[in-house]
C-alpha cells in the first residue's frame, strides 16, 4: 500500500467526492469529515513512513500516460512537498470540521474533497503535465466555492480569480512545452518528467526566457506584486473555508513551484533575476503591508497580509542558499497555518455579526476573551514573534537573503515593522476599547466546533515555533540537494559564486545540450 500511497492520497478524496453525491444531505457533513480524517491519517502515515535522511524523492510511482509524447503519471514526495501535503489534508479536515451552517452543504463538501485531490496532486506530481493538470483543476472547485458561497461581489471575484490564474498558467504551459522540446532536442526523447528536466543544462539565454514564462504563471498564483489584485477580491468575497484553503494551500502552489521548477531548472536565470524579483518581493512586503494598514475590512487586512508574507517567502526562495530556501519552505507551512487560522478567526466573527468591517467592532476582548486570546496568538505569530511558527521561517528567509544583499534585506526586514503596524492597528480596532455597538454586547464566545479547528492550529503554531526540527530537518535535506544541484548546473561565474557549493557527495549526472535551436 505504501507503494501507492500518493495515488491513494490523491484519488481517495476524489472518489469519496463522487460517492458523496449519493449521501443524504444531512449526513454529508459527517461523511466529509470522516473522509478528510482518514485522508489526514493517511498523510500522517506518509510522514511516518517518510525517511527524513533521504534527500531525494520517495514513494515514487510511475505509470505511462501518453508515452508517445513523454507524459507519464509520475508522483513522489520529498521534504519540501511532504509537509504541504500534510497541511492540505489537515486544513481540509479542520475546514470541514469547523464548517458553519451553509446552504447546499453537500455541494460544498464535495467541492472541498475535489479541491483536496487537486491540492495534493499538485504537490505530489513529478511530471510537469500532471502537475499542470492538478494546478489548473484546482481552480475549478475554488471558482465554485467562491462563486456560490461568497459575498455580494462573488461572481466578479471568482471569475477574476479564475481567469487571472488561468491566463498566467497558460503562459507557463507554453514554457513547459518549450522545456520539453529542448529536452527532446538534447536527448531525442520527449519527456515531461521534472527529474529528467533537472538534468538538462540550458544556455543562459534560453533559461532567461523559460524562467520568464514560468514566472508569469507562478507569480500570478503567489500572487506577486503587481499581479496580486485578484487576491483581495477572492478573499474578500470567498466564504471562510474558501479563504482558509486559498491562503493556506493554494497560494503555496506558486512558491512551491518556484522551488520545484524555476530554481533547479534555471539556476543561472534565477541568479540573473534574483535582484529584480527581490525588489518585487520587497515591494510586496512594504506596499501591501501599507495597503493592509489602510483597510477597513478585517478580512482584507488578513488578505493583504498574506501577500506581504508571500513576499518574504519569495525573498527566502531567491536567497538561493540552504538557509533561505529552507526558511521559505518552512514559512510556507507557517503562513499556511497562521493565515489559515486568521481567516478561520475572521470567519468566526463574520458568522456572528455578518460583517467584517472593523468599525463595527471594538472592545471584543471584553465580550469574547477566548476569541481575543486565540486571535492575539495568531496575530503575534503573524507578526513573527519568536517561538511561534512564523518566526522560524521569516528568520531563516531573511537570514538567507542577507548573504545576497545587505540593503535589500534591511528593506525586506521592515516586514517585521510594517507587519506589526497593520496587525496591531487592526487588533486594536477590533478588540480594544469599549463595546460601542449594541449587537456586540452579547456575542457568544468561540464555540466547540470552532475550537476544534482553532486549538490544533494554536498548538501547531507554538509547537513548531519552539521545536521546528521535525519539519525543518527533512526540508533541509531536500533543499540541500536542490542547492547542490543548482550549483553544479549553473554555468555562469556569477551563479557559481552566488549559489553555495555544499559538496556533500551528491552525484549529478550531466546531460548537456548542444546549442539547442
Amino acid at each position: 500500500m505504501l507503494d501507492h500511497i500518493l495515488s491513494i492520497l490523491i484519488f481517495f478524496p476524489a472518489l469519496a467526492g463522487v460517492f458523496g453525491f449519493m449521501i443524504q444531505k444531512d449526513s454529508v457533513r459527517a461523511y466529509g469529515l470522516a473522509v478528510a480524517t482518514v485522508e489526514f491519517a493517511l498523510s500522517l502515515w506518509l510522514w511516518f513512513a517518510f525517511d527524513s535522511n533521504v534527500s531525494g524523492m520517495q514513494f515514487m510511482e510511475q505509470l505511462p500516460l501518453i508515452p508517445a509524447f513523454g507524459i507519464n503519471y509520475t508522483l513522489g514526495v520529498d521534504g519540501i512537498s511532504l509537509f504541504i501535503i500534510i497541511l492540505a489534508a489537515f486544513f481540509t479536515m479542520i475546514g470541514i470540521a469547523s464548517l458553519p451552517e451553509t446552504k447546499d452543504v453537500k455541494n460544498m463538501i464535495i467541492s472541498l474533497l475535489f479541491l483536496q485531490m487537486t491540492m495534493i496532486g499538485v504537490f505530489a506530481a513529478l511530471d510537469a503535465i500532471v502537475f499542470y493538470i492538478f494546478w489548473e483543476l484546482s481552480l475549478v472547485p475554488m471558482l465554485y466555492i467562491i462563486g456560490a458561497w461568497g459575498g455580494p461581489l462573488r461572481v466578479y471575484a471568482s471569475v477574476k480569480f479564475f481567469l487571472y490564474t488561468f491566463a498566467g498558467s497558460l503562459v507557463m504551459l507554453v514554457g513547459m512545452l518549450f522545456m520539453a522540446y529542448f529536452y527532446f532536442q538534447a536527448t531525442g526523447v520527449w519527456s515531461f518528467a521534472i527529474l529528467e528536466w533537472y538534468r538538462l543544462i540550458l544556455p543562459e539565454s534560453f533559461q532567461l526566457w523559460l524562467f520568464a514564462a514560468f514566472f508569469v504563471g507562478f507569480a500570478i498564483k503567489v500572487p506577486m506584486f503587481p499581479f496580486h489584485t485578484w487576491l483581495p477580491y477572492a478573499h474578500g468575497q470567498a466564504p471562510t473555508i474558501g479563504s482558509v484553503i486559498l491562503a493556506a494551500i493554494l497560494l503555496k502552489m506558486g512558491t512551491y513551484a518556484f522551488i520545484r521548477f524555476s530554481l533547479p531548472m534555471f539556476p543561472d536565470a534565477s541568479v540573473f533575476f534574483m535582484f529584480p524579483i527581490a525588489i518585487l518581493a520587497i515591494i510586496m512586503i512594504i506596499y501591501t503591508a501599507m495597503v493592509a494598514y489602510a483597510q477597513e475590512d478585517i478580512k482584507q487586512v488578513v488578505a493583504y497580509s498574506s501577500v506581504s508574507h508571500m513576499g518574504v517567502i519569495i525573498l527566502g526562495t531567491f536567497a538561493l542558499n540552504v538557509e533561505g530556501i529552507s526558511g521559505s519552505v518552512f514559512l510556507m507551512i507557517a503562513h499556511g497555518v497562521v493565515s489559515g487560522a486568521l481567516f478561520l478567526l475572521v470567519g468566526v466573527i463574520y458568522d456572528r455579526r455578518h460583517t467584517k468591517m472593523m468599525n463595527q467592532f471594538g472592545g471584543l476582548a471584553h465580550v469574547m476573551p477566548r476569541y481575543a486570546t486565540i486571535f492575539g496568538l495568531m496575530l503575534m505569530a503573524s507578526v513573527g514573534m519568536p517561538l511561534t511558527i512564523n518566526f522560524v521561517g521569516e528568520f531563516l528567509s531573511l537570514l538567507g537573503f542577507y548573504q545576497q544583499s545587505h540593503v535589500l534585506t534591511i528593506l525586506a526586514g521592515t516586514a517585521i515593522v510594517v507587519g506589526a503596524i497593520y496587525m496591531l492597528a487592526a487588533y486594536k480596532k477590533m478588540f480594544f476599547g469599549n463595546v460601542t455597538i449594541e449587537e456586540n454586547r452579547n456575542l457568544p464566545d468561540v464555540n466547540k466546533r470552532e475550537l476544534l479547528a482553532l486549538i490544533p492550529l494554536s498548538i501547531i503554531t507554538v509547537w513548531l515555533g519552539v521545536y521546528p526540527n521535525p519539519v525543518l530537518a527533512p526540508i533541509n535535506n531536500s533543499v540541500e540537494s536542490i542547492v547542490q544541484l543548482m550549483h553544479d548546473k549553473s554555468i555562469t561565474e556569477e551563479a557559481k559564486s552566488r549559489i553555495p557549493n555544499l559538496i556533500k557527495g551528491i552525484e549529478i549526472t550531466r546531460t548537456s545540450i548542444e546549442e539547442a535551436h
Binding site: 453525491f21 505511462p64 500516460l65 501518453i66 508515452p67 508517445a68 509524447f69 447546499d104 455541494n107 503535465i129 499542470y132 493538470i133 489548473e136 483543476l137 481552480l139 475549478v140 471558482l143 465554485y144 462563486g147 456560490a148 462573488r154 461572481v155 471568482s158 471569475v159 479564475f162 481567469l163 488561468f166 491566463a167 497558460l170 503562459v171 504551459l173 507554453v174 512545452l177 518549450f178 520539453a180 522540446y181 527532446f184
Partner: protein
C-alpha cells in the same frame, strides 16, 4: 479517331469507393422504403442510418488496414485518393455522424425528423463529405462539396421555422458566392498548370520554380477565400453565428465539426505544399487569419447573451486555433489537428447536445432566446447532474486539464513551439484564457446564480430520451477519460499523417 479504351477492374481499385457508396446506398434504401410504405416512424430511419454508418465505419477500418499495409491508394482513374488524411477525416466524419444521428430521437417532435428525406439527405451529405476528402481532384472536391452543402442547406431549413429558413438562405447565398470563388481559384490553378489535381499542380509549380508567382497568389487568394468561408475564418465567418442559431442545436453541433474537418483536409492538401515551397505570403496571410479569427471570435463570443450563439463564436475561434496547425505545417501539427478535432467532436457535440435536450418549443416570458444564459441560471439546484455535465463540457472547451480538449491544445501548442512559432504559441495560449471567460460565464450562471422562480429543472431535460442521454453520456465519458485514449490515438494519427507525407 478515338481508340477504344480498355480498363481493367483491378486498376480501378473499386474498393476505394466503398466507404462513399455505402451511405448513398443507404439513402436510396431509405427513399425506396418511404416510397413503398410511408408513415413509418423516424426511429426506423435513425436505426437504418446508424446501420449504414456502421457499415461505412467498418469499411473505413478495412481501408485503414489496407493503408497501413500498402500506403496511399489511388483508385478509379486516379480520381480517388485514399491516404491517411482521407481515412482519418472519414473516421471523424462518420464517427461524428453516428453520434449525431441518434439525436433525432428527441422527446419532443421537431419538423425535420418526420421526413424520411431528412435521413436520405443526411446520408447523401456524408457521402459528399467523404468524396471531398478522399480525392485530390479539384473537380471532385467541388462536386462533393456542393453535394454536401446543398444537402446541408436543406437539412437546416427543414427545421421549419423562420430562423432556420433565414439561416439556410444566408448560408446558401454565401455558399454560392464561395462556390464562385472556388471555381475561379481552380480556374487560375488550371490556367497555370493545366491540371486540376493538387498533386500535379504542386509538381508543375515546383518544376517552374513558381515563375508565375502573381498567378499563384491570385489562385491562392480565391481558394483561401472559399475555404475561409467553409472554415468560418474571420471575416468570412459571418454566416456561422446566424446559421448555428437558426439550425437546431443538434445540427449546429454537427455543423461545427463535420463540414469543417472536411474543409480542413482539403485546405491541408492544398496549402501545405504551398507553404512548404516557400510562398511566404501564404504563411503571413494564414498567420493573420489565425490570430484574427481566434481573437476576434473570442471577443464576440464574450458579449453574447445566447449560449448557442456563444458556442457558435467559440467554434469559429476553435477553427482559427486549428488553422494554426495548417500554418505550422509539420507532421506534429497536422497530427495535432486531427487529435484536436477528434477531441473537439466529443466535447462540442456533447455541449450542443446538452442544449438540444433543453430545447423547448415555447419560450417562457423571461427568456429572450432558445438558449439564453438566463435560462441556465441556478441549474445546479434543479438538475445537478445535467449542470455538472454541461460544466464539464465547458471546462473541456476552455482547455482545463485533464478533459479532452486540453490534450488537443497541448499538442497543438507544442507543435507551434517545436516549429519555432513562439509568438503564435503565446497568442494561442492567451486566447485560450480569453475564451475561458465565456465558458466560465455559463458555469457562473449554472452554478452561482439563483434559479428563476418556478423553474423545476424539467426544462433542462425537456427533450431528453434514452438515446439522447446515451449520446451525452458517451460524449461525457469521452471528455473525462480522454487521457486514456490519447496515446493510442496519437500514435495512430501520427502514423497515418506521417505515412501520407504530411
Amino acid at each position: 479517331m478515338l481508340e477504344p479504351i480498355n480498363v481493367s477492374m483491378e486498376s480501378l481499385n473499386l474498393m476505394t469507393l466503398a466507404p462513399m457508396l455505402i451511405p448513398i446506398v443507404g439513402a436510396l434504401v431509405i427513399l425506396v422504403i418511404d416510397m413503398i410504405k410511408g408513415g413509418l416512424d423516424r426511429s426506423l430511419y435513425v436505426v437504418l442510418s446508424l446501420l449504414f454508418l456502421f457499415m461505412d465505419f467498418s469499411t473505413l477500418i478495412e481501408a485503414a488496414g489496407v493503408f497501413a499495409k500498402d500506403g496511399s491508394v489511388m483508385g478509379v482513374f486516379d480520381v480517388m485518393l485514399i491516404d491517411g488524411l482521407a481515412i482519418l477525416s472519414q473516421f471523424i466524419i462518420v464517427g461524428a455522424s453516428m453520434l449525431f444521428i441518434p439525436l433525432a430521437l428527441s422527446h419532443t417532435r421537431f419538423h425535420e425528423f418526420s421526413y424520411p428525406e431528412f435521413f436520405a439527405l443526411f446520408l447523401f451529405m456524408i457521402s459528399g463529405f467523404q468524396f471531398m476528402v478522399a480525392t485530390d481532384n479539384l473537380i471532385l472536391i467541388f462536386v462533393g462539396l456542393e453535394t454536401s452543402s446543398l444537402a446541408l442547406y436543406t437539412l437546416i431549413a427543414m427545421h421549419n421555422r423562420d430562423k432556420s429558413f433565414e439561416a439556410a438562405v444566408k448560408y446558401f447565398t454565401m455558399g454560392a458566392l464561395a462556390a464562385g470563388l472556388y471555381s475561379f481559384g481552380a480556374m487560375v490553378f488550371y490556367a497555370l498548370t493545366g491540371s486540376v489535381e493538387i498533386g500535379k499542380i504542386a509538381a508543375v509549380l515546383a518544376a517552374n520554380g513558381y515563375a508565375d508567382l502573381a498567378y499563384v497568389l491570385v489562385a491562392v487568394v480565391f481558394m483561401l477565400a472559399s475555404f475561409a468561408f467553409k472554415l468560418s475564418l474571420v471575416p468570412f465567418h459571418t454566416w456561422a453565428p446566424d446559421v448555428y442559431e437558426g439550425a437546431s442545436a443538434a445540427m449546429a453541433g454537427y455543423m461545427s465539426i463535420v463540414p469543417k474537418i472536411a474543409a480542413f483536409v482539403v485546405a491541408m492538401r492544398l496549402f501545405e505544399f504551398l507553404i512548404h515551397s516557400g510562398v511566404v505570403w501564404l504563411e503571413i496571410v494564414l498567420y493573420i487569419f489565425v490570430i484574427v479569427t481566434m481573437t476576434a471570435a473570442n471577443m464576440w463570443a464574450l458579449v453574447q447573451t445566447d449560449v448557442k450563439r456563444m458556442l457558435a463564436y467559440s467554434s469559429v475561434s476553435h477553427a482559427g486555433f486549428v488553422m494554426a496547425a495548417i500554418l505550422i505545417g509539420t507532421t506534429q501539427s497536422n497530427s495535432a489537428l486531427f487529435l484536436y478535432w477528434v477531441l473537439f467532436s466529443f466535447t462540442n457535440l456533447g455541449s450542443f447536445s446538452m442544449l438540444w435536450i433543453s430545447r423547448q418549443k415555447h419560450l417562457p416570458a423571461h427568456q429572450s432566446s432558445d438558449h439564453s444564459y438566463d435560462k441556465f441560471a441556478g441549474m445546479i439546484k434543479t438538475s445537478p447532474m445535467a449542470a455538472s455535465i454541461m460544466g464539464l463540457f465547458m471546462l473541456s472547451l476552455a482547455g482545463i486539464p485533464p478533459f479532452a480538449l486540453f490534450w488537443g491544445k497541448l499538442y497543438l501548442i507544442s507543435s507551434a513551439v517545436t516549429s519555432g512559432y513562439t509568438v503564435l504559441a503565446l497568442i494561442m495560449a492567451l486566447n485560450s484564457a480569453i475564451a475561458g471567460y465565456y465558458y466560465v460565464k455559463l458555469i457562473v450562471y449554472m452554478f452561482m446564480k439563483e434559479p428563476v422562480v418556478g423553474n423545476d429543472g424539467h426544462m433542462y431535460v425537456a427533450n431528453a430520451t434514452m438515446s439522447l442521454r446515451t449520446i451525452i453520456g458517451l460524449a461525457a465519458i469521452g471528455t473525462i477519460f480522454a487521457v486514456i485514449a490519447i496515446n493510442p490515438l496519437l500514435e495512430f494519427i501520427t502514423t497515418f499523417v506521417y505515412n501520407s507525407g504530411y
